[in-house]
């Protein structure tokens, strides 16, 4: 039924392989205090299978950029394509899963019920829903928590459940806006490790917003440094790190060198304000 033809629209079109492609993107918010330019001439190509992190000071437009990809915000200039089609068409085709900063689980649904919510909306069959819920719960190491309510889980577990929810349907793009921002360092390390494994297993394309330099360097194949007023991209760093990354890679010289370059980029962005 419906689900099948949606799947076709979810595969990247033949446009040189870029899954997400932004060209000269501008976005100006009209506020009561006058216009706020959140994005200015932002151009970026994200290839299939990339893990791209966005880093930059508060207010530099990271969230806004991600929301443009998700068709939650309309750019006022330039163009953006997702899977070769417009962001609106990509959203209609359920091309991406979006993980918000807060888990945002429905308190009246169990963990399993929360994960099957998008599946219900997209019209997956009951048995398919069951299989998928079980599979993604396994993936985020929450097997056995299906029948629990959100308030019975810790913050980290809730965030994992919300990631599972974004993974449950066949979207090969994952957009994540500071998903681990509210969690403590140790839980964060653990989830970072899990996220990398998950990415390797599912071969999704991931766009990931963070404030943490080590997190960005540890996770990404590509790090996008942004700076504010107006929000723009100041540096794009391709990571030389191998795909296989144990946590202690963070002490290697290669890692520290990338981290250094990110820090320099952030500092440069700060200085010309």
């Amino acid at each position: 039924m419906e689900v099948n033809n949606l799947k076709d629209a979810g595969t990247p079109a033949a446009n040189g392989g870029a899954v997400i492609s932004a060209k000269d993107l501008d976005l100006t918010f009209q506020t009561n205090d006058g216009p706020v330019q959140a994005l200015k001439s932002v151009s970026l190509d994200i290839e299939k299978g990339d893990f791209v992190s966005f880093i930059g000071p508060s207010g530099c437009g990271k969230t806004t950029f991600l929301r443009c990809m998700a068709d939650l915000e309309q750019p006022t200039g330039g163009s953006i394509t997702v899977n070769g089609v417009s962001a609106a068409e990509a959203r209609a085709a359920r091309a991406y899963g979006y993980v918000f900063q807060a888990a945002g689980l429905y308190p009246w649904r169990t963990i399993g019920g929360n994960i099957s919510l998008p599946l219900e909306i997209m019209g997956y069959s009951k048995s398919d829903q069951r299989d998928r819920v079980a599979r993604v719960l396994e993936l985020v190491e929450l097997a056995g928590f299906e029948k629990k309510f959100p308030w019975q889980l810790s913050g980290g577990m809730q965030q994992r459940a919300s990631i599972a929810r974004a993974l449950a349907f066949d979207a090969d793009i994952l957009l994540m806006d500071e998903p681990f921002g509210a969690l403590d360092e140790i839980v964060r390390d653990h989830l970072n490790e899990q996220l990398l494994k998950l990415w390797a297993r599912t071969e999704k394309t991931i766009a990931f917003v963070t404030h943490s330099i080590p997190e960005a360097v540890y996770l990404s194949t590509k790090i996008v440094v942004m700076s504010p007023r107006p929000g723009r991209i100041t540096d794009v760093i391709d990571s030389p790190l191998p795909k296989e990354r144990p946590l202690d890679i963070r002490e290697t010289p290669e890692f520290l060198e990338v981290a250094h370059r990110v820090r320099e980029g952030l500092r440069a962005g700060h200085n010309d304000v």
């Binding site: 998700a70 068709d71 939650l72 959203r91 209609a92 359920r94 991406y96 899963g97 979006y98 918000f100 807060a102 945002g104 429905y106 308190p107 009246w108 649904r109 169990t110 919510l117 998008p118 219900e120 909306i121 997209m122 309510f149 959100p150 308030w151």
Partner: protein, 287 residues
């Protein structure tokens, strides 16, 4: 058990106060009668008299209790003098009015939340409707409906509806708007339709608000039904008992009807509370 101790203390205090108040309230009548019979009243005579008059200004609690007992347990339910019979007349109008009011309130709330024009235009009218004193409006509603041949339960139910739709409408507007922007964005990312967003997000999120306003609406419905019985020529119902009681100075009858109305309100409102607890518990939202 420990929770009932404060409640019982308050009840005991109220009863004591009530007994004390009955003495000065009814003393004049006792003095007058004693003067006519030319006897001297001792204090204990006075107290005994004020607590056992036939038409006291303020009947003593036990007099009301006896009256309630005699008109409920001792009377056949079908009897025109049974309080159960009258309560049922009032309750049926209350429940019909409550159902109508709840439906109207929810429909209005959905309209207000989903339709910009309704959002701008309906709420002021809803609020204005409640500023008209129901005592002035009730007779008009009864007369108008009687003129078009509608009488009996329905006019009273209409008055109940008029009072009860308001808390439901206000509560449900708040409840349907309670989902956070992020939750609505989430629905957007899944490309959910408007009806999916309503059934899967807005409606369940509004449940706690709904139950709170249902309790208020139920109490308002009961008041509406009783008020609706006042101008009907005092045929049946708790309102009719109140009116007949005041015609003939039957204060004990008035008070027993009042007590019955209060008990009825307590029972139906706590019934909603029970349903609320069951539903919210099953939804994992028990508080």
């Amino acid at each position: 058990m420990t929770r009932s101790i404060p409640v019982l203390t308050v009840v005991a205090a109220i009863l004591a106060l009530w007994y004390v108040a009955a003495v000065p309230m009814n003393a004049q009548w006792a003095y007058d009668r004693a003067a006519r019979a030319d006897v001297e009243l001792t204090f204990s005579d006075l107290v005994a008299d004020t607590w056992s008059q036939e038409k006291p200004r303020l009947p003593a609690p036990h007099q009301v209790a006896v009256e309630v007992w005699q008109t409920t347990v001792d009377k056949k339910i079908t009897s025109k003098r049974s309080l159960i019979y009258h309560s049922w007349i009032t309750l049926s109008a209350t429940l019909v009015g409550f159902a109508l009011g709840t439906t109207l309130g929810i429909l209005l709330a959905v309209g207000i939340v989903y339709n910009r024009v309704m959002d701008m235009s309906v709420m002021p009218w809803v609020i204005a409707s409640q500023t008209i004193p129901i005592l002035a409006l009730a007779p008009m509603i009864i007369v108008v409906l009687n003129a078009v041949g509608v009488s009996g339960l329905l006019p009273k139910a209409v008055i109940s509806m008029y009072l009860s739709f308001f808390p439901v409408a206000v509560g449900m507007v708040k409840g349907l708007r309670s989902p956070e922007v992020m939750q609505l964005d989430q629905m957007h990312t899944w490309h959910a339709s408007a009806s999916q967003t309503f059934w899967k997000l807005r409606l369940p999120a509004s449940m706690p608000y709904l139950f709170t306003s249902l309790k208020v609406a139920m109490a308002a419905s009961l008041v509406g039904a009783i008020v609706g019985e006042l101008p009907t020529g005092a045929i049946a119902g708790l309102g009719a008992r109140l009116l007949a009681g005041s015609y003939y100075g039957q204060t004990i009858q008035i008070w027993s009807a009042l007590i019955m109305a209060a008990a009825l309100a307590a029972v139906i409102v706590s019934l909603i509370g029970l349903i609320q607890r069951i539903v919210l518990k099953r939804m994992g939202m028990a508080t």
